[in-house]
C-alpha cells in the first residue's frame, strides 16, 4: 500500500528537479563563493541565479533584497530583532495571537526584557479586527508582524492592507509568508511590506534554507556578524547546495501557482466535502472562503486527534493534529483556542495539507478511510453515546475535575 502524504504544511518532499540542481554542489561545485579562483566563481554564479528565482517568486524589485538564511525561524528572529535594534526610539511590537511559535515565543521573550507586545485577537473564523489593529498603531510601534497565511487553518490575513496602515505611522511591517509563498500570488514591489520570511522546505526545497526579504532602504541590523556574505547582512559561508535547490524550487513554484489554485484546490475541496458528507459533528475551522488552496482543517468533535492520527497512520495516511497530546503539551493548539473552538472539538482537529503531488485516487482513499476511524473512536469515547453526543442524555459524562 502506497503511503499518502497530506502533511505538506509541516514539510514537503524535495522535487526531483531540485535534487538534481543541488547535486553538483556536493561534488564539482564545492568551492566557496567568496574565493577568487574558478572553483568559487561558478558557485557565485549559481547563487546569483537562485537569488533571481526567489526575487521573481516574491515579486521583489531588486535581487539584492533577497537574503538567504538557514530557515524561516531565523528570518523571523532577524526581522523582529533588527527592527527593535535599528529603531531604539520605538519599543512596541504588534503581532497576532495565532502566529507561529517562531514569532510568539520570541515576542514572549522580548516582553520579559521590556518590549511592549500587542497580540491581535481573532474571531471564531480566525479573522483579525482591523479597527483594533489601527487603534494599536502608534509612533512607538517598531514593527508589525502578521503571518500571510496561518499554518493550521490556512486562513489568509490582509497583510498588504495592514502593511500600508503600518507605513502611515512609520512602523516597519514584517510578514511570515512561510505557508503562503508558492501557494498565493505575491508581488512585494507593489506592496508596503518591508520584510518577509520564507522557508525552503515548505515549497519542495530542502530543509535548512530560508529567505528574509528586506526592502531596499529599510534600516537593518544583522543577527549574525562576521563575514561579508549577503552584503554583510547575514554572515556565514553560503549553503550553496541548498540555495541552488531553493532557486529551482522557487522557479517550479511560480510555474505551478495556477495549478495550486485550481487542481490542488479542487482536490482539497473534494476531500473536505467527501469527509463532511459522511461524518456528523465535524466542521471546518478557520475561514473557508479565504484560505490557502491546499489546507483543510477539520474538527471532529468528541474524539482526540492523536488517536485519529495513529489510526490513519496504520493505513499509511499522514496528516497532523492540533490536539494537546500530539505535542506533549497540556492544551490544544493556540490557534484553535484563539478562535474559541470548544475543547471537545479543538482536541479533535486534523489538518490535511495537500501538495501538487497528490492525486485524486489518494484523496478518494482518504475520504473512504476517515469516517470508520472517527466512528470507531467515538464508540470508545465517554462523550459519545450510540450515534450522538452524550451531553443531552441523562447521566451525561461529568468527570471529577475539569
Amino acid at each position: 500500500m502506497q503511503p499518502i502524504y497530506l502533511d505538506n504544511n509541516a514539510t514537503t518532499a524535495c522535487d526531483p528537479a531540485v535534487v538534481d540542481a543541488m547535486l553538483p554542489y556536493f561534488t564539482e561545485q564545492f568551492g566557496n563563493a567568496s574565493s577568487m579562483h574558478s572553483f568559487g566563481n561558478k558557485v557565485a554564479q549559481g547563487l546569483k541565479e537562485a537569488r533571481v528565482a526567489v526575487q521573481r517568486l516574491l515579486g521583489a524589485e531588486f535581487d539584492s533584497e533577497i537574503i538567504f538564511t538557514s530557515c524561516g525561524t531565523e528570518s523571523d528572529s532577524t526581522a523582529i530583532l533588527s527592527a527593535l535594534r535599528a529603531q531604539p526610539e520605538r519599543n512596541q511590537i504588534i503581532t497576532t495571537a495565532v502566529e507561529h511559535p517562531a514569532i510568539l515565543a520570541l515576542c514572549e521573550h522580548l516582553e520579559k526584557e521590556g518590549t511592549v507586545v500587542h497580540r491581535l485577537s481573532v474571531d471564531k473564523k480566525g479573522r483579525l479586527d482591523l479597527d483594533e489593529y489601527k487603534s494599536l498603531l502608534s509612533p512607538r510601534t517598531a514593527i508589525v508582524s502578521a503571518m500571510w497565511a496561518n499554518n493550521e487553518t490556512g486562513t489568509l490575513f490582509p497583510v498588504e492592507e495592514m502593511a500600508a496602515m503600518a507605513r502611515v505611522v512609520g512602523a516597519m511591517f514584517h510578514t511570515d509568508a512561510v505557508q503562503a509563498a508558492g501557494k498565493v500570488p505575491i508581488d512585494l514591489r507593489s506592496s508596503k511590506i518591508d520584510m518577509l520570511s520564507l522557508s525552503g522546505h515548505k515549497l519542495h526545497a530542502p530543509k535548512g534554507i530560508g529567505v528574509l526579504y528586506l526592502r531596499r532602504n529599510t534600516r537593518f541590523r544583522p543577527l549574525l556578524r562576521g563575514g561579508h556574505q549577503e552584503r554583510g547582512r547575514r554572515a556565514g559561508t553560503e549553503n550553496s547546495a541548498s540555495i541552488a535547490g531553493l532557486g529551482k524550487a522557487a522557479e517550479l513554484a511560480l510555474e505551478h501557482l495556477a495549478f495550486e489554485n485550481t487542481e490542488v484546490r479542487r482536490l482539497r475541496d473534494r476531500l473536505e466535502t467527501g469527509i463532511l458528507a459522511q461524518v456528523p459533528h465535524a466542521f471546518v475551522t478557520g475561514d473557508p472562503a479565504n484560505r490557502l488552496p491546499n489546507t483543510a482543517n477539520i474538527a471532529f468533535e468528541y474524539v482526540e486527534g492523536e488517536a485519529i492520527l495513529l489510526l490513519l497512520n496504520q493505513q499509511g495516511i499522514a496528516a497532523s493534529s492540533g490536539s494537546a497530546c500530539t505535542s506533549g503539551s497540556l492544551e490544544p493548539s493556540h490557534v484553535m483556542r484563539a478562535m474559541g473552538i470548544p475543547y471537545t472539538a479543538a482536541h479533535g482537529t486534523i489538518r490535511f495539507s495537500l501538495s501538487r503531488y497528490n492525486s485524486e485516487a489518494e484523496i478518494d482513499r482518504v475520504v473512504e478511510a476517515v469516517p470508520p476511524i472517527i466512528a470507531r473512536l467515538r464508540k470508545l469515547s465517554p462523550y459519545w453515546n450510540e450515534a450522538a453526543p452524550a451531553k443531552d442524555e441523562i447521566g451525561a459524562f461529568v468527570p471529577a475535575y475539569g
Binding site: L310, C325, L380, P382, F397, G402
Partner: protein, 297 residues
C-alpha cells in the same frame, strides 16, 4: 511520532473491554476535556467478597490514554477492591512496557479512575488532588507543578537545589532555563517584607480600661496607625490604603509588591495586631476585594 512500545500500540489498536458495561455497580469518571483526556471506568463488583468480576472503560484521549485504560481493565479483573487500591500508576505503565515521560499522566488517570470507581461503590466521595503542569524535565518526567510546589515548600533558590529535590534538570540540562524561570517567578511572588516592630508601644493599662473612642477619633486612630506602617511597606515596593471601615471590619487594599504576594495574609494579620493594640478593641483587617463578595462574610 511518539516512541510507543509494542504493548502500547497493541492495546491501542485492539483495546480490551472497551464500551459500556451492563450492570456496573462501581463507576469512576475522571479527566478533563481541557487536557484532552477523560476516562470512565466501569466495574462489576461481587458484593460477597468485593472481587472485581468485570471491568470496562470508555476513554476520550490519545493512544496512550486508550492503551492505559485497556491495560487497567485487564490488570484489575479478579482483584478484590483492596488489592485494586494498591495498583500504582507505575504498575500500569510497567504493564505496557513503559510510557513516554509526557504520557505518564495517562497512567495516573487510570489509577485515579480506579480510586473514583471504588469510592463510588463504597458510597464515598473521591476528591481529586490532581495538579499537573507542563513537562519541564523530559529526562526524569518532572512537570512545572511539582517543581513549583517543591520550590515553595523548601524555599529553593538554585537549579542545583531543584535537581537535588526532584531530579529535574539532572539529565541533559536543556531544561535549566525553564527551571530558572520557575525559580524567578516564585521568588517574585514571595514578598520578603519584614513585619515592622510594634510602631505604637503597648500601653500598660488593660484594654478594657481605655475610654471609648468616638467614631471620628476611632477613624483617626486607624488612619494614624496605618500611616505609621506604610513607610515600611513602601520600602519593599508595596503599599496599603484603607477603603472602608464597617464596625469591626476594616477593608484595605494592598498595593504594589504586596499585591498578590504569598505573604499577603501574614502582612494583613501583622497590621491587624497593631490596630487591635492601638484601638484597644478587636478589629478584623480584610482585603477590599471582599467588599464585592457579600456572601463571603
Amino acid at each position: 511520532m511518539w516512541d510507543y512500545t509494542e504493548k502500547v500500540r497493541e492495546h491501542f489498536f485492539n483495546p480490551r473491554n472497551a464500551g459500556p458495561l451492563e450492570g456496573a455497580n462501581a463507576v469512576g469518571d475522571v479527566g478533563s476535556i481541557q487536557c484532552g483526556d477523560a476516562l470512565r471506568l466501569m466495574l462489576k463488583v461481587n458484593p460477597e467478597d468485593e472481587r472485581i468480576l468485570e471491568a470496562h472503560f470508555q476513554t476520550f484521549g490519545c493512544g496512550s490514554a486508550i492503551a492505559s485504560s485497556s491495560a487497567l481493565t485487564e490488570m484489575v479483573k479478579g482483584m478484590t477492591l483492596d488489592e485494586a487500591l494498591q495498583v500504582s500508576n507505575q504498575q500500569i505503565a510497567d504493564y505496557l512496557d513503559g510510557l513516554p515521560p509526557e504520557k505518564m499522566h495517562c497512567s495516573v488517570m487510570g489509577r485515579e479512575a480506579l480510586h473514583a470507581a471504588i469510592a463510588d461503590y463504597r458510597g464515598e466521595t473521591w476528591v481529586d488532588d490532581h495538579e499537573e503542569g507542563a513537562m519541564v524535565c523530559k529526562c526524569f518526567a518532572v512537570d512545572s507543578a511539582l517543581i513549583e510546589e517543591v520550590v515553595r515548600a523548601n524555599n529553593l533558590t538554585t537549579v542545583e537545589q531543584v535537581t537535588h529535590y526532584t531530579k529535574a534538570g539532572g539529565g541533559c540540562c536543556s531544561c535549566h532555563e525553564g527551571i530558572e524561570e520557575i525559580l524567578a517567578n516564585v521568588s517574585a511572588e514571595r514578598c520578603t517584607a519584614p513585619m515592622p516592630p510594634a510602631a505604637i508601644p503597648v500601653t500598660e493599662a488593660p484594654a478594657a480600661a481605655k475610654p471609648r473612642l468616638t467614631n471620628f477619633q476611632r477613624m483617626r486612630r486607624i488612619e494614624e496607625t496605618i500611616e505609621a506602617i506604610r513607610p515600611m511597606l513602601q520600602r519593599d515596593h508595596g503599599d496599603i490604603e484603607v477603603v472602608e471601615i464597617d464596625g469591626k471590619n476594616i477593608y484595605v487594599n494592598l498595593k504594589g509588591a504586596c499585591q498578590g504576594c504569598m505573604m499577603e495574609q501574614a502582612t494583613l494579620s501583622g497590621i491587624q495586631a497593631q490596630l487591635v493594640d492601638a484601638l484597644g478593641e478587636f478589629v478584623q483587617l480584610l482585603p477590599a476585594a471582599m467588599l464585592a463578595m457579600p456572601g463571603r462574610r
